[in-house]
Amino acid sequence: MIEPAPSDLLNNVAIVLREEVASSIPEGEARNQIKAASVIIRRIAKVWDLIIPTLQEENRDIEECVDSLPESIRNSVESLGSISREIPIAPKFSEVAQRNKFLQEQLLEIHKSADRQNSEEIRKEVESILTNLYRRNLAREKVLADRG
C-alpha cells in the first residue's frame, strides 16, 4: 500500500494541528507548543524522502574528498580503522547515519593532521579542499531547506 503517502499523511496532520487544534486553544504556552509541533511535522513531511539519498551523496562526496588528499594527510585517518563502504540497495537511515558519523570523525582527524603540518602549502591545500566540501554539503542541505 502506498496511500496515504507519508508526506500527505504528515502534512495533513500538521494542517489539522495548526488550523483546528491550535485555534481552538486559548492563546498561551499550549497553543504555541501545538503550532511549533505543526511547523516541525510540516517540514519533515516535505523532506523525509530526501534525507537518506542526501546523506548518501554527502558520504560519497566525503569519501572522494578524503581519497583526493595528499598521502601524508590521508594516512592520519588510518588509526580510526575503517568501516565498509558497501551500502545495501535500500539502506536504513541508521546505516547511512553511522557511516556519516564515521566520516565526520575522519574529517576531524584530517583537520588535526593539517594543523600539525610543517608545509604551509599542504595545509592550505587541505583547508581549501575541506572548505569546498563543506560548501557542497551546505548546498545539498539548502535543497532540503528550500523544500521544507
Binding site: 504555541n32 511549533a36 509541533a37 511547523v39 517540514r43 594543523d115
Partner: protein, 337 residues
Amino acid sequence: MNTEELERGLSTLIANREPRSDHITITDLRSISGGNARSAYSFDAKWFNGKKDETRKCVLLLQLNKGQLDQELSPEFDLLDFLSKRNIPSPSSYWLDASGHYLGAPGFVMEHVSGRGELRNLLNSKYKVRNAYLAKQMAEAAARLHNVNWNTSDFKSCEIVTKENAAIKQVSIWEDLFLIHRMEPLPILVNAFGWLKRNCPVAERIVIVHGDFRFGNILYEDDKLTSILDWEMAHLGDACEDIAWAYRPLWSPHPQLAFSQFLKHYLKTRSVELNERTLLFYRLFSEVKHAVISLTGANTFAGGGNHNLRLADRMTWTTECLRQFYEWLPSNNGRGL
C-alpha cells in the same frame, strides 16, 4: 510555584532586600512572554517605607528550565544597576534571588519599562518611516553604550579583557559550549572555529558589549525607543561585535535602514572608525555564535532539559548560520583577512 506562592516569595524577597518595608502587597502578577530559558512575569509591588507608600511596576525573570543558554544572573543584575545610572536605555534592576531561595528558582526583579517589542512590526515596511527612526535611535543607543567608561570602582559585572584577547575569549566561550553540546562531530563547525581562532583581530578599544544587540530586543512607544532588553550575554569586548550582530541577515533592520545609514548615526555619537576587517570577522563570528546557540537549544531539548518545542528543530538554524558563514568566508580561506 503557583501564583499565591510566587506572590508570597516576592513579598519575602522585598522585605529582605528593602530594610524599611512594611505592608508589602503584590498585585496583578501575570505571565508575560519571556525568552527561551526564562519565564517572565509582570506585577506591581507596593509597600510602606516608614514615611510614605512606595509603588513600583516590575518584571520578574525566573530561570525555571534549562534554555538555549544558561547564564548566571548576578552579572546581568549588576550591569543593569550600573547602566541605569549612566543614562543607557535599559531597565533598572531591583532585587536579586540568585539561589532561588525566595522564588523557587534563580531570578531577579527589574523595572517594567513601558513599550512594545514586536520584531514583526519593526521589520514591516508598512511602518518604514517609524522603523527607520527607531533603528537610528538604536544606533545612537549602541554608541552611547560603547562610550560608557566602565573602568570605575562600581563596575563589577564582566570579566576584564584586553584589546589583544577580547576576540579569542569570545571565540573560546562559544567553542566550549559547542564542544559540550554537539550531538555529532560536526567538522564543519570545527573548521569554522579554526578559522576564527586564526583570524582574531585586536580591538581598537574595550567597551561594554550588549551581546544580543538587535531590533528584536528593543522596546518602543510610538516612535520612541524606550529600552534595550536581554542583557544576559553582555561582556567586555569589541564594539564591532554588537554592530555585526545587529545586522545579521536573520533579523537585520536593513530594509528599514541601510547599514551605511545605521553606521552614520552610530558615528555621530561615537567618533571612532570601525575597522572593516574587524567588522567582517565579527559578522563571521556572529554566524558561528548563533549556530552554537541553536545547537545548544536543540541539544537541551533532545536531552529533556527543556520541553519547548520551538527548540526541538533548531539544528535547521545551525545549518542556515553555517551557510552564511561559508558564503562570507574569504576565498583564501582566511590565512589573514
